[in-house]
Amino acid sequence: MIGIPLSVAAVFLVAAASPLIVSRTGRWAGWLLAAAPATLFAWFASRAGEIADGRLWFAVDWVPSLGVRLAFALDGLSLTFVLLISGIGALVVVFAGDYMADDSDLGRFFGLLFAFMGAMLGLVLADDLITLFVFWELTSLCSYLLIGYKHEAAKARAAALQALLITGGGGLALLVGFLILGGVADTYALSEILGMGATVKASAAYPAILLLVLLGAWTKSAQWPFHAWLPNAMAAPTPVSAYLHSATMVKAGIYLLARFDPVLGGTALWLWLVTPIGVITMLLGAVLALGQTDLKRVLAYSTLTALGTLVALLGLSFPEAVKAAVVFLIVHSLYKAGLFLVAGAMDHATGTRDIRELSGLRRLMPLTALAALLSGLSMAGLPPLFGFVAKELTYKAKLGFGGGEMLLPAVAVLANALTVTAAGIVAVRPFIGRSSDAATRARDGTPALLLGPLVLGAAGLALGLAPYLVGQRLVEPAISAVLGAPFEIELSLWYGWNTALALSVGTIALGLLVFLRRHSARRAIERAIEALPVTADSVYGGGLTLLTRTAAAQTRLLMRGGTSIHLFVILAVAGLLLWTALAPLTGLSAPPMPRADWVAWILAALVVLEAIGAVRARQQLAGAAALGALGFSVALLFLLAGAPDLATTQFLVETLIVLVLVLVLRRLPATPEPRPGAGRRAGAAAAALAVGGGFTALMLGVVAGPYDPALADFFANASVPDGKGRNIVNVILVDFRALDTLGEVAVLGVAALGVLVLVEGVRPLPADRAAWESPILDVVDRFLVPLLAGFAVFLLWRGHNEPGGGFIAGLVAAGAVALRVLASGPAAGRALLRFDPRVYVGAGLLLALVSGLWGPLLGFDFMTGVWTEVPLPGGPLKLGTPLLFDVGVFSVVVGFSSAVLVKLEERHG
């Protein structure tokens, strides 16, 4: 069933295209973008009949060596979530298009929102533990970016970080749980694991698996004591709150519990871990909701109540409870998303979300009021809305637990009564009474602002009047999926006179009573919160402070403010490791000295002398010069050993390094460095000798051993037929080990960005030291720069067969840029480059990546070289993707070097 992964991929594609779509279509972007999730909704809804009997399935190998597959499956539970994600997603996108029309960064917003949508779809469709985990983490990341969307506000950043740390921490626990579970089941395939409940529950690792998976679910679904991030996440734009933090993402934990019920559920441990936490969260949310003045925070805390209810029901795990959970899940997503959008609409119209400043909006915003009333009544659980059906089922399930246990129903009545109050506060109070000052200029919003609230409210009414619309097609398969066995239900609005109905009546009465006393209730709760010695937020804050303090103390211990100490520690440890690792290998016996001709000995002596010179140099400039000379001597040794590519690279790198060192040293005072004390010098010498001596011994040991030519022979023989090149070094770089090279140039690209950021903080150069302007240098530069540039292209072209290649050519081109920068200043360097160095880095990486994609297009592996021959009069011209890859490497190297050179010189006072 290829449609499943395609639908996920399509959403990510829309995410990538969002900035473009928004910039082209402006205020119609929301409507246009909503077409994507709406289409998905229709497509998946039309599949409901097929999955009523079984599952649709798709899988490809992802990491076959680890048994990880990119696998997707669609069953009743997934379908329920998919329809909520795509349906509510479409409405939220339409809403956001107008709600955030003034936002200058709307493209980024929609990009993130769609990326989240794709991740969430992937999460609920995944049929592989690792696939599920990857999408799970993606939703956490998207949530982080969306909560912190208004990143100028410190509050939003802190809230985003809190959500990321808590849900991300739970995600890590989940990963460990999945790995243990995969080990026990001997597969990561979810569909297989689902049938192994008995095996898993019997294994010794069951409690660990359960706890770890539950930690993932609890953090994601904001269960006590991990709930603090959810109310704070209200710093996100309202469409995000409506979508992520009420209807979908926070339900991921619920999905996890429901999904793993057949494997992990039904035990006493499950019951006593899951249900009590759910009940605590339910009560906590219900009480705290009444202590809020911000509409969105009232809704956020009432979301906690709903999530707690769902967790408690799933903990009970018997069919009636699961049935109630599935129905309530749908109900809550509909009314809560609707109410969040209503809150957004009120905020948009009046400029405030404070419940004390909102009243009398009924006449001014009649359609919004209607939508609010429908969703509010569903939240309160009044007939004939769908919320009533869900509440009846919940009461029945709780009454059904353990017969005589009356605690559970009693707590549920209390929490639901307070939910009735909250519904009154959010959905009724702002619309009745006399118009407040804030309300005077309020009007109903545009169609985009009304569509979501009205459709969601109407859906709650329609499903309440006709629950059979979703009964057999959606709820029944979903319950069967959770229970792991077929289960038949009949949903209806009216079950006759029973205990549940009596509880409902009591709930509503109690809720209304509290509503009348809501002000004193709020003040009482506010006082109680202030009196609390510890809150979840304060524990989180304390933990964070402790973490940063520990990190700071550790940094002070290890990084003592000087590179010499830092280097000493690194070298000493490296030396120690080297010798301890070396001792068992060589037995520390002196290996025979290699034979070498006298030229090599002279060069070796030169290297030693230059090293001494570099160490003893009193001025940094002299030290840099000595180091450069040392590098050149080493390059000559490479040349002598028959490695022209290596030698050329070394020559060029040494040249550029000396140049950059000089540019940096120019910024430092020219006074000689004070000579360090004898003790420090001895320590430094010992560390240096340990590393140098260690490597010498290692090399001698390696050379003394027998030489195995297998690898060298392979490359020598395969280079021309497979790699189409005679320069083995280059063929290895761009063909045989191209993936390594891709990684390396990516590192180079990241390093370039790092340098650009760091150089921003460099102290500016005094203006008098900046001027150079030498006509002689200028004239020579005009000859040399084109020569060097041409030479670079030549090296790039011939690199596949003779010494050269993208890396070397890039360094030569960087030399040209360096010359121009020195002769005529950084502006001239930029003019020579035409584009920003970052463009070279990005374009190079993209080119390298694209060159690797040819292979998969033709059915080979990523990065497989694809060649073609162009007939030319002078013989056929061989062109292949490795050459393209080499051009990418060239571009990254040019970009990186130029970034350093240009940026360093641009920092003038």
Binding site: S774, I776, L777, V780, F783, L784
Partner: protein
């Protein structure tokens, strides 16, 4: 005969480079040292490269030798000029 010419060129080149090195060591001030390093150095290494090219006697080698000499003649004066200028501007020519 050709061998003799190559030997003379190589020996003179080596001698010039040696003299240049001596000059850098012994000359009293920076300008004189610079003069020794560039003039003798350029000519000395130029002769050495020529000798090498003549000894090998291939067209491609001769081309490379010529290119090398051109580059030395282009860059050595500029380097000397830059050095001299820097010292003169900083007033540290003693």
């Amino acid at each position: 005969m050709a061998e003799l010419l190559v030997s003379i060129a190589a020996l003179v080149g080596a001698a010039l480079v040696f003299v240049a090195a001596l000059g850098v060591l012994r000359m009293p001030d920076l300008y004189s040292r610079m003069h020794a390093a560039t003039k003798a150095g350029a000519l000395g290494s130029g002769l050495l490269v020529l000798a090498a090219a003549a000894a090998i006697g291939e067209t491609s080698m001769t081309l490379r030798a010529v290119a090398t000499i051109v580059f030395i003649f282009l860059t050595a004066p500029v380097a000397a000029h830059a050095l001299g200028r820097a010292v003169f501007r900083n007033g540290r020519d003693r």
